[in-house]
Amino acid sequence: MAEQKDVAAEQAAHEPSEKRAHEPMSMSRRSLFIGVGSTAALLGLGALRYAGHTPLNRPPGGQDESALVSACIRCERCYEACPRKIIIPASIEDGLLGMRSPQLDFSSNYCDFCREENGGVPLCTQVCPTNALQLPADAELGNPETGERGNVIIGIAKIDEYSCLAFRDTGCRACYDACKYDAIRLEGTDTNPRVYVEADKCNGCGACESVCKSLSAGSIVSGATYRAIIVEPVEAE
């Protein structure tokens, strides 16, 4: 027993010096492992770029999707800056690449390009520190006061005739009343007209979606999860 112990002690005494001789000069084995592992993981994460994500309604200035993805560092300043609180983080369901990037949510309010709050200069674009949200030089923003459509198109409204109340002879025309750009047309002269989107007049401000009553109590079409009029990203078409 005593002999065995001595042998073990001797081995232990020798081991470190041998190990030391095999160690690389500047980086320990652990550092190498961490470095290689993390780099592989980060390259894998980078490859998400090719996986893409669901097209989203972006805040004004975020219409160039690849520029937005390249520059956005998820600092969340645009969420805070939005006076109407309609900028929300994209969720994992929209794809890992876009997760936490800014998208517009028209469930309770719409985008007026900060006409009312900041004289027509969108605050989200103004505060974005990395220019992920940046209006092109020739940008003309929609003006809800004059009804000019502009050339910054967030998306185009689309009506689901199956769940739309107007198509059920209810006389609902909430979206028509909300639209500032005459992009909703009434058809049929009787008391229950149908509503249609005039795509070439819509800039995706979301006013129609924010007032749509199709999901409210008493007007539920079974299985509907979205309102009957929603703004769809231009890319989706």
């Binding site: 470095g35 983080p89 103004q126 520190p129």
Partner: protein
């Protein structure tokens, strides 16, 4: 208030204020992009990433980067100890550890650092005053383990590899890749998704995935800040040149040099895995000092101070020109001290 508590309080307060701002929509930004109105100060890694990805010079990003580099040169990794929420998580975790586990961890660090101190004192040929204790306390059997080995400090470490990997991936795929998994960003994202879950009924897998990612990084990847964090790696590249407020040992007070008694409390206390008394034995070097003051507080003889400039006697290799400047500054300091000392004493 102890510095440790003060630090936790400040970092927690910064987090709470920014998180409240995020919820209430008060525009302060987050630690990834702090600011209001047109003014913003970006995370240096985010600034670098976004410029590499878009291949353009973004004014606000460039200004932030330069400002941050200046900050690192002056204050080292102070952000890590005083502002980063990850440090708060670590302290929270330590708080909720079972007393048994906490004692075990503390004991292990205690034994290791004490063993290093003893070994180094013995190597100098002094008879260690408190050597007897080693036979009871030390779990490292110094006779068989061949002594505590010094760490070979290269110019770069594993965090620089992570930093390099992140920037490489950013350059190849054209988006700031690390931002997707940055624990600081994920912390604020957690606040936002949880808030939205309750306020807007926004049910999404993000509510589970984002905190889960945070847990994986901070719990499973042990010693995130010392071994993984690319931001710490970036800071290290510049903080290594910092000569301001660096903890300095007064050898005439230190137990090990003045009393030849093994102590190692400064190394036990250090949250950045630095051994200030025996730098060659710490996992990291003084370049990674976070100015947390843990060593200053831990020193039983108050031998450690954080002078505005490193003084003579502290081993720093300087160019001749730098040495002249330093001596000039020291002369000024000494003259200031001769004026201030009597005032201090009068104050006491």
């Amino acid at each position: 208030m102890k510095t440790k508590n003060l630090r936790t309080f400040i970092a927690a307060a910064i987090f709470v204020v920014l998180a409240a701002g995020l919820i209430l929509g008060v525009s302060f930004g987050t630690l990834s992009g702090f600011g209001w109105g047109d003014f913003s100060l970006l995370c240096p890694l985010g600034a670098l990433g976004t410029m590499i990805a878009t291949k353009t010079m973004i004014p606000r990003a460039l200004i932030s980067l330069v400002a941050m580099i200046l900050f690192f040169v002056v204050l080292g990794r102070a952000f890590c100890a005083w502002a980063c929420p990850v440090g708060v998580f670590d302290r929270l975790r330590a708080f909720f550890r079972s007393p048994k586990k906490r004692k075990e961890l503390e004991q292990a660090k205690h034994d290791e650092m004490l063993a290093i101190s003893r070994q180094e004192l013995e190597a100098k040929g002094v008879s260690v005053k408190n050597a007897a204790a080693s036979e009871e306390g030390c779990t490292h059997n110094c006779m068989t383990c061949g002594g505590c080995k010094p760490v070979k400090h290269g110019k770069l470490d594993s965090r620089h590899a992570v930093l390099g990997g992140a920037l490489l991936s950013t350059a190849i795929f054209g988006f700031p890749v690390f931002c997707l998994v940055c624990p600081v960003g994920l912390t604020f994202a957690t606040v936002l998704v949880v808030w939205r879950l309750f306020s807007a009924g926004d049910v999404t897998w993000s509510v589970i995935l984002i905190p889960a990612l945070l847990v994986v990084e901070l719990v499973l990847l042990r010693k995130w800040c010392t071994r993984f964090c690319p931001l710490a790696g970036l800071m290290n590249l510049f903080s290594r040149f910092s000569k301001t407020w660096v903890p300095t040992i007064d050898d005439s007070k230190c137990l090990e040099t003045a009393k030849e008694s093994a102590c190692g409390r400064c190394a036990m206390a250090c949250e950045a895995d630095i051994n200030i008394r025996h730098p060659e034995f710490g996992e990291r070097t003084m370049a990674d000092c976070t100015r947390c003051r843990a060593c200053v507080d831990a020193c039983p003889t108050k031998a450690i101070s954080m002078p505005f400039l490193v003084r003579a006697g502290h081993k720093v290799t300087l160019a001749d020109a730098e040495q002249e400047v330093l001596e000039g500054v020291q002369q000024v300091e000494r003259s200031v001290e001769t004026v201030l000392n009597p005032l201090d004493k009068a104050g006491e």
